[in-house]
């Protein structure tokens, strides 16, 4: 099983492309870090890989077939800003179960307290919200995860906790992971394979 982007061309306007013939493949169970400076197009590529944006040309393949348009997408994206990835009017318990119904052990492994399920997003910190974002994408149907700067806004202790859980679950379930970051140090720490965005 693998996810592959072939010759992706994308631009937010007609005259200028920010991705020009980009190709990238990640195998099942593989951990790849995509490294590049801020503003180079990493997040845009992440959105395309997750099926949120349609490229001008080129295709994203999952298992040699185009990424499914309907149903649960096996490629899930964890967003950089958790507060934007959660409906502010929903309690977090509802947000969590929108994707799947994780058990108590799974939640406690991610450091999610049961009392938080009855709270609204505004009542939690960025790190606490990000745990929910991670928990909900780790559904049994998820085969690949794209983690777009998921720990950038967090303190170092929370960063370590989040990456620890994410890497452990990815390994247990043989989930492929593409970690998008501008930090080469973090990339080297969490992934055996580093890909420079400029080389794509």
């Amino acid at each position: 099983m693998r996810i592959e982007a072939r010759n992706i061309v994308f631009g937010y306007d007609k005259s200028h492309n920010i991705l020009d013939g980009v190709s990238l493949a990640v195998q099942s169970g593989e951990r790849v870090a995509l490294v590049g400076p801020s503003g180079c197009g990493k997040s845009t590529l992440s959105q395309i890989l997750a099926g949120n944006l349609r490229p001008k040309s080129g295709t994203v393949f999952f298992d040699d077939k185009p990424l499914p348009e309907r149903g649960f997408c096996p490629v899930q994206l964890i967003y950089q800003h958790p507060e934007k990835a959660i409906n502010p009017r929903w309690k977090l318990g509802k947000t969590l179960t929108e994707a799947w119904d994780p058990d108590d052990d799974f939640l406690s492994a991610l450091g999610i307290e049961k009392a938080w399920l009855n709270r609204y997003p505004a009542e939690l910190s960025g790190g606490e919200m990000q745990r929910f974002c991670i928990a909900r994408v780790l559904s049994p149907q998820t085969k690949f995860i794209i983690a777009d700067e998921v720990s950038t806004m967090l303190d170092v202790v929370t960063q370590a906790q989040i990456w620890d859980v994410l890497l452990r679950v990815a390994k247990e379930r043989n989930i492929g992971l593409l970690a998008v970051t501008h930090s080469v140090e973090l990339a080297a720490r969490i992934c055996p394979r580093l890909v420079e965005f400029a080389s794509l």
């Binding site: 959105q47 997750a50 099926g51 949120n52 309907r70 149903g71 649960f72 997408c73 490629v75 899930q76 994206l77 967003y79 800003h81 934007k84 990835a85 959660i86 409906n87 009017r89 947000t95 929108e98 994707a99 909900r136 559904s139």
Partner: protein, 274 residues
């Protein structure tokens, strides 16, 4: 104005409107219908303790006529604004969720409606439907959904671009689920504010068109009819025939408009500053 003050204003205006509505309906039902019948011995009397709004050229009590007239205005206003708001919500959400040709078609339709002066359109619809309450109601409702629909469409497009909507889509949720669970709850404040602001507008149209002779039939004591009839007698000095019914209508309309605008500030302080 502070948020606390706005809450107080909203509570006061809402209470005042409620009192007027109860007074119009409960009081209106208790008032004798005989007061609406002609009594030439009482004709053309200025306001007094016996007839606080005076009497008209047929000796009918103007207070009773005004209360009955307001009850009709309230029913037409409420029904027309509810129908128009529901149309606006359905059309706005459909356009923004459908995008592509659905959005183009709806926008084209909105442009067509906006290009025709809506008073003319209401008159045409009202006449086509043989005037009366139904013609007026459908005329007002069919012409007043467009602005709110455009506002709702814009709001939905903005919410649609949020990451949590993209995430929901990738969790396999259908557009209907997303519209019902993510988008519609965000639309509730806009919907109710839009509905309340349409209410006085619809009442004014009802009265305005009836005044011009395109609305209610003359036998119904609608405020527009009362004002229209009063016009003939104002030159004789009988200003009470137009003053009290007109003032009652203006107070009711201003109160509802004030409530709508205050709620708009309360629900979305940033938007209201624009």
């Amino acid at each position: 104005m502070s948020k606390l003050n706005r809450r107080t204003v909203a509570a006061v205006t809402a209470s005042a409107i409620l009192i007027i509505i109860i007074a119009v309906y409960v009081g209106g039902a208790l008032l004798p219908n005989s007061a609406l019948e002609a009594d030439f011995s009482q004709k053309g009397q200025p306001p007094s303790f016996a007839h606080i709004f005076g009497t008209d050229f047929l000796g009918r009590d103007m207070f009773v006529r005004t209360v009955k007239g307001l009850s009709i205005s309230l029913v037409v206003g409420a029904a027309a604004s509810v129908i128009a708001s529901i149309i606006a919500l359905v059309v706005g959400v459909t356009a923004a969720m459908g995008r592509g040709w659905v959005d183009h078609a709806v926008n084209w339709f909105i442009d067509v409606f906006m290009s025709v002066p809506h008073t003319v359109l209401i008159i045409l619809i009202s006449i086509a439907l043989s005037r009366g309450v139904i013609g007026l109601l459908i005329g007002v409702a069919a012409t007043h959904w467009v602005t709110l629909a455009r506002i709702i469409r814009g709001e939905v497009l903005q919410i649609r671009s949020q990451s949590y909507i993209a995430a929901s889509r990738r969790f396999g949720k259908s557009p209907l689920f997303i519209a019902r669970n993510h988008i519609l709850p965000h639309m509730i404040p806009q919907f109710f504010v839009g509905l309340i602001l349409l209410f006085p507008h619809a009442i004014m149209h009802e009265s305005g068109l009836t005044f011009l002779g395109f609305g209610m039939p003359p036998e119904q004591p609608a405020v527009g009819i009362i004002l229209s009839e009063a016009m003939k007698y104002i030159s004789t000095g009988a200003i009470w025939l137009a003053f009290f019914p007109g003032l009652s209508l203006v107070i009711l309309v201003l109160l509802i408009d004030k409530l709508g605008n205050t709620l708009r500030f309360l629900f979305d302080p940033k938007e209201a500053q624009l």
